[in-house]
């Protein structure tokens, strides 16, 4: 075990995998000479050279597509988006090529590629720079989506993602890059894709949250504990595939559920989880499933508005009290 920042854990995963397998390379804007816009890839140019740590022009559609072609032809690319906001430029490559060519070719090609970078809001950056995209990509069959909340998961899951033979979208958060946590240094530390983590066991209400929202949920849980409640907190870790088994077992135990999710609410991850719970565990529910999302608006710039926009611990706490009829 070592204490690492989130960015260091991500880097460690990439470095270990690149040392192991020559066919892995890292490509993106400013990843090489600048050492990464958020210093995630610091030192990697020095270690691996310019053949394997490659700066690109600002041309997301181009280099995402290049990565996909390289994966089709035997390499295992890691493509960094400076933030997922800019992956919108490459949406066609991700959705129509990465996700679908395997299927359309009757399984002749595999796509061992990871697209990674920070996702979601990072403060007062206004509408184009502050969107949470995991729910959008999660609607696309053929893509896997991982959204991590801590350094240890980041390392174990990224290593699994790099070894996975399918396109994996790996979502980080720039506001969490400096967050420290214990990280396993076991050799070949792999966390399986598709397994949720029960972060806090409890019996009164299930709170489900990934990425930054996980910390919102933990804060709300603390507030509830103060009042004598016993919440269970689940971090799904991977959004697609989604570990409904763990979620359902929890809901069947607590009979109540609140989902915290930074996506805009309409057709969000929270909507999907809520739907699946009512289908599979309707008889166990003592209250309607509630969700705490970002507001149903584009992200605003003004400080008071962006704070209001984001899902908050306070709202989560209130929603939990509501499903427990404690209000």
């Amino acid at each position: 075990m070592a204490e690492l920042q989130l960015r260091e854990a991500i880097r460690a995963a990439m470095v270990e995998e690149m040392e192991r397998d020559e066919s892995i390379f890292l490509m993106g804007e400013e990843v090489s000479e600048y050492n990464g816009a958020y210093k995630v890839s610091e030192g990697m140019l020095k270690q691996f050279g310019a053949k394997r740590v490659i700066d690109t022009p600002i041309a997301e559609n181009g280099f995402a597509g290049l990565g996909i072609g390289a994966a089709m032809n035997g390499l295992r690319p890691i493509i960094e988006f400076m933030t997922w906001n800019f992956s919108m430029v490459a949406m066609d490559q991700l959705i129509n090529n990465a996700a679908k060519v395997r299927y359309m070719s009757g399984g002749q090609f595999k796509f061992p590629i990871v697209f990674r970078g920070p996702n979601g809001a990072a403060g007062q950056l206004a509408a184009t720079h502050n969107t949470s995209f995991e729910s959008i990509f999660s609607t696309i069959p053929g893509l896997k989506v991982i959204s991590i909340s801590n350094p240890d998961d980041a390392k174990g899951l990224l290593k699994s993602a790099i070894r996975d033979d399918d396109p994996v979208l790996f979502m980080e958060s720039e506001v969490m890059y400096g967050m420290k946590g214990e990280v396993s240094d076991a050799k070949d530390y792999l966390i399986p894709i598709g397994k949720a983590r029960i972060a806090r066991e409890g019996k009164d209400v299930t709170i489900i949250a990934h990425n930054k929202s996980y910390w919102v949920a933990m804060k709300a849980a603390e507030m509830l504990v103060q009042e004598g409640f016993d919440p269970e907190v689940i971090d799904p870790r991977t959004i697609r595939p989604l570990d409904m088994e763990t979620i359902l077992a929890s809901v069947k135990k607590t009979n109540r559920c609140v989902i915290v999710d930074e996506s805009n609410p309409f057709a969000s991850i929270a909507s999907e989880i809520g739907f699946q719970i009512q289908r599979e565990a309707f008889d166990y529910l003592d209250a309607p499933v509630l969700r705490v999302n970002a507001k149903d608006v584009p992200a605003p710039y003004a400080k008071n508005l962006i704070e209001y926009y984001m899902p908050s611990a306070e709202d989560t706490y209130k929603a939990c009290r509501q499903v427990m009829y404690a209000n």
């Binding site: 800019f86 430029v89 403060g123 007062q124 720079h129 710039y301």
Partner: protein, 380 residues
């Protein structure tokens, strides 16, 4: 690298002309004859013309000086306010590039012709006549800001002045500028759109698709690359297979110019020529060589360039250059120019006060400006 822009205004044929030969990799392409390429490149080096040759009055030149100085002082103050955390998010300063916005504003019909640009937008906004007050209040995220506190530094808009925005996704606004020009033509107006972007943005597919459409439909748009030598930490020759960006025009059969961005007169002259072409329905491209003095944004430590390089560029400062010109041509005294500086400093100071005093937007405004319906049913 303004000194590279050549001697006099010369018209030269495309240097790539020889590339269109009738062989590829040594294989003759029988029956294929290359047409000589007709695209012309003009250069607008610094100190090319006097204000009289350009038809500018003393008042015009003094206005240009004031405009550039206002942008400079506004941004210096904004940087300070950012340090005090009065301003959040990203702050990309335009310092060093002011001759471009000012030379452009002087050459277009403000309020009729449109300007669209990326997130480094303060200079263009102020040069076009947006007020320090509305601009500063926007940085502070206040209700009296030009975008009601919803946009911040990267998203200045003024419909009235046809400032069609600062935009945050690199390259994405270039097709939009082309569409603005499409509408000008469609409506039978002789107005034009200038789409500004950086040397980093020219590599986006969006630019190439827009340029092709503009050429195809003869749209009154001018693509203006503000080549400040860097896209974040990437020097232009590390991102461009062809670092002479003006040559991109070849692919789209467009006239193109290479302009010094350190001399407001050079910018003004080039803009006049290109705007006239656009009014005739001829799209074109301008590469303006300039330099940004500050980091890419406030959080950039600028390790990718040397202090010597930066200092050398500061010696070419467009404001100092114009000041020297004014003094040399006895168009103003030092005291008069200092007074202009005092006035713009005062204006900026007052805008800080204005921004401080403007209220934060009410929480209910988060649901405003999304749809035109007043009663749109938002999801909770």
């Amino acid at each position: 690298m303004a000194s590279e822009t050549g001697k006099k205004t010369v018209k030269k044929k495309s240097p790539r002309k020889s590339a269109a030969t009738s062989s590829v990799n040594g294989h003759a392409l029988d029956g294929l004859k290359a047409e000589p390429l007709s695209v012309t490149f003009n250069t607008y080096p610094p100190s090319n013309k006097t204000h009289r040759q350009l038809g500018l009055t003393k008042a015009d030149v003094l206005d240009m000086y004031r405009s550039m100085l206002l942008q400079r002082r506004f941004e210096e103050r904004a940087a300070q306010m950012y340090g005090k955390q009065k301003i959040g998010g990203f702050l990309h300063l335009y310092i060093g590039q002011e001759a471009i916005s000012t030379g452009t504003a002087q050459a277009i019909r403000i309020g009729e012709d449109s300007v669209i640009t990326a997130y480094r937008d303060h200079g263009h906004a102020l040069a076009m006549g947006m007020t320090s007050n509305e601009c500063m209040a926007e940085l502070f995220g206040k209700i009296d800001g030009c975008s009601r506190g919803k946009g911040g530094s990267m998203h200045y808009f003024s419909k009235e002045l046809k400032m069609m925005g600062g935009h945050g996704i690199v390259g994405a606004h270039i097709p939009v500028g082309t569409g603005i020009a499409f509408a000008n033509k469609y409506k039978g107006e002789d107005t034009v759109c200038l789409a500004f972007f950086g040397d980093g943005a020219i590599h986006q597919g969006a630019f190439h698709e827009a340029a092709n459409l503009a050429g195809l439909y003869d749209l009154p748009v001018i693509f203006v690359v503000e080549n400040n030598q860097y896209a974040m930490g990437t020097a232009v020759d590390r991102a461009a297979a062809e670092p002479d960006l003006y040559k991109q025009a070849l692919s789209y059969d467009m006239p193109s110019s290479l302009v010094s961005g350190m001399d407001v007169f050079s910018v003004y002259e080039a803009m006049q020529h290109h705007v006239a072409m656009a009014r005739e329905g001829k799209p074109s491209l301008i590469e303006i060589r300039t330099y940004r003095y500050r980091g890419h944004s406030m959080s950039d430590p600028q390790k990718y360039r040397t202090k010597e390089e930066l200092d050398a560029k500061k010696d070419e400062d467009p404001i100092l250059r114009l000041k020297a010109y004014l003094l040399e041509h006895k168009m103003a005294t030092n005291a008069q120019l200092d007074k202009v500086d005092d006035e713009v400093k005062q204006e900026v100071m007052e805008s800080v006060e204005f921004a401080e005093n403007s209220p934060a937007p009410g929480l209910e405004t988060i649901y405003e400006d999304i749809y035109s319906d007043k009663d749109y049913p938002f999801t909770t």
